[in-house]
């Protein structure tokens, strides 16, 4: 990536050749001004919370601390307690299943829909806009609607399935320990499709028509044109969508709380919901912070590995 040639200064003052070192410093300063507001904002709004969360995880932080400000130092005790609790293993497993299931579903379906909408047909613009509706609706409303739809006895889904004689007795989507997590994944996919469709669609539009035409002349259409043209050229966009997707999904809280509250019998308890439970239901903020830090570390590890892997393939 070529560096922009900055050797020509701006404006009438540049007529006089200024001394070299000062120009370079001023240029660097000008460049810094581009980045300064963003960095300042991030430090102001994120710096303190991150540090606070980190220190809270090492303290005995309870409701009393909010009033008195006292929080005895516990070292790694909170982490030990959290990792050793009966729910932890299940929460980690659920988190992995939930995230992988949601991302795969959202991405594949999102890509399929985005590719389909590449064709020009009447109303395609309007339909694409309406596709964003699931993301537009307040989460409390979405989760309530889905709870009703998925109700075992009187939910719309089971009524439909029973009416079409596909099942005898509607499954307990939210009441069975084996189906509840799947139900949460499906709802999360539903919410995540608009995000994927929009970004992937934009990326697909960038791929020049000529490439497809040239490939068609060589006989490569359909799946082969996807594999050799679409997929490689979509790689940078795919990276952004997947990494952000994982980062956002791993901390999903409101959907699961709204659908099942983490139940039944902890079958939909993830690290994020368990962290919320510890902090705001049992008022053990130290342990809740410890768990949320573990979550952040997991996200970070994934992001680092993934970005390193894709950077190698993009730099060609």
């Amino acid at each position: 990536m070529a560096d922009v040639d900055q050797s020509v200064g701006g404006g009438p003052a540049a007529r006089r050749p200024p001394p070299r070192p000062a120009t370079r410093r001023m240029q660097r300063l000008g460049q810094a001004m581009f980045l300064l507001p963003a960095v300042a904002y991030m430090v102001l709004f994120y710096g303190y919370p991150v540090i606070k969360n980190l220190s809270m995880s090492f303290q005995n932080y309870t409701t009393t601390t909010f009033f008195t400000g006292e929080a005895p130092w516990l070292g790694f005790d909170n982490y030990k307690a959290v990792i050793g609790s009966a729910v932890f293993d299940k929460a980690v497993l659920n988190t992995v299943l939930f995230t992988v299931g949601s991302i795969v579903g959202q991405f594949v379906i999102g890509l399929a829909i985005a590719i389909y909408f590449q064709r020009k047909f009447p109303l395609s613009g309007l339909l694409r806009s309406l596709l964003l509706l699931p993301w537009l609706i307040p989460l409390i409303v979405s989760s309530t609607i889905w709870r009703w739809i998925l109700d075992k006895d009187s939910g719309a889904l089971n009524r439909m399935l029973e009416g079409l004689h596909l099942v005898g007795d509607g499954p307990g989507w939210l009441t069975s320990t084996s189906l509840a997590l799947l139900a949460c994944v499906v709802v999360n996919i539903w919410i995540g499709i608009p995000f994927n469709v929009t970004i992937l669609f934009g990326g697909l539009q960038d791929i020049p028509e000529e490439l497809y035409e040239a490939a068609a002349l060589d006989g490569a259409t359909g799946w082969r044109s996807f594999r050799y043209i679409t997929w490689p050229l979509l790689r940078p966009v795919t990276s952004v969508v997947l990494v952000l997707g994982v980062v956002y999904t791993i901390k999903v809280l409101d959907i699961i709380l709204g659908l099942t509250g983490g139940g039944p019998a902890n079958s939909t308890q993830t690290i994020a919901t368990q962290s919320y439970q510890l902090s705001f239901v049992e008022f053990n903020f130290g342990q809740g912070a410890a768990l949320s830090n573990i979550l952040i570390v997991i996200s970070l590890i994934f992001a680092t590995f993934y970005l390193r892997a894709t950077r190698r393939s993009v730099d060609e």
């Binding site: 020509v8 020009k120 989460l139 940078p236």
Partner: protein, 292 residues
């Protein structure tokens, strides 16, 4: 290539490219619209259900019929009476967040993409890291700060807070797309005598218009749907986004679901209008016309 000519070419709206099959016939028929509509119907069934419940009085879960037979507009009259000012607040905060986020994020993303900034990788990792922080952590920290600064119950405060998701996200998206803008274009502008900032504003921004619109779309949606900051950073009803206002129908024991759903439907309308307008630009592709 003359920078001016390039700009003129880039600024004309992308023409619709008819999709050609191997046989060369352009397609644009209604069969695809129908299938597209069906896909949408399946995806949007819950949205239909939301409208269905909003039109029934005492909208409750159990015996809601498939189609609202006895239409009742109670939910809508409640929603209009109580939530109009909240809707206005939500729109102002969301649009404000879009403007603020883009003004901060666009130059930043450009700097990361173009200038060889020391530690650019670190900044990007920091941005990604910020997205991993649970919202509650940020909200709690902001409450004390806002309280001391007198920013509680203010539109400005909410705009600043809602941008905590918008700015990092916009920077990541814009960085990805600004990287693919060839240096030659910008150099051409600089040779013509423009300063770095002018080159950015006059050349880079118009070229990134579609990426900017995509980013704006998501910033709007993030801010529009925010509940956490609305709850934490307001203590009175003066400034109350609709995501919080909807809770005046959701009590501890009794819920007025028709009003809740009616509010959700009404809240979707201005957003849908904005989305339809924005989609025109997203349709053109995010680096439309960038010279490869």
């Amino acid at each position: 290539m003359n920078a001016l000519a390039t700009r003129r070419e880039l600024l004309t709206p992308a023409r619709r490219r008819p999709h050609r099959t191997a046989a060369g016939r352009p397609r644009g028929d209604w069969r695809h619209s129908v299938l597209g509509g069906l896909i949408l119907a399946v995806m949007l069934f819950p949205v239909y259900w939301m409208v269905n419940v909003s039109l029934q009085s005492g909208g409750s879960a159990v015996s809601t019929p498939w189609v609202p037979l006895n239409i009742s507009l109670d939910g809508y009259s409640n929603a209009l009476a109580d939530q109009s000012s909240n809707l206005r607040t939500s729109v102002i905060v969301a649009l404000g967040s879009v403007a603020f986020s883009l003004v901060i994020a666009a130059p930043g993303a450009y700097a990361l993409a173009r200038f060889r900034v020391k530690g650019a990788g670190l900044v990007l990792l920091g941005i990604l890291l910020s997205q991993m922080i649970p919202g509650i952590v940020v909200a709690n920290a902001l409450y004390s700060a806002y309280n001391n600064l007198g920013l509680l119950n203010s539109i400005l405060g909410l705009i600043l807070a809602d941008s905590t998701t918008g700015i990092p996200f916009a920077m990541l998206i814009l960085y990805t797309f600004m990287k693919s803008i060839p240096a030659s274009i910008v150099e051409a502008a600089l040779v013509d005598g423009a300063g770095a900032f002018r080159a950015f504003v006059s050349v880079v921004l118009p070229m990134s218009r579609n990426a900017l619109v995509t980013a704006a779309l998501f910033i709007f949606l993030f801010a529009w749907g925010d509940f956490l900051f609305a709850l934490t950073l307001t203590t009175t009803e003066d400034v109350r986004p609709v995501t919080l206002g909807i809770y005046s129908y959701i009590g501890n024991y009794v819920n007025d679901w028709s009003s809740v759903m009616a509010t959700a439907v009404l809240a979707s309308l201005p957003a849908v209008v904005l989305l339809v307008v924005a989609q025109r630009y997203v349709a053109a592709g995010m680096t439309a016309g960038s010279v490869k």
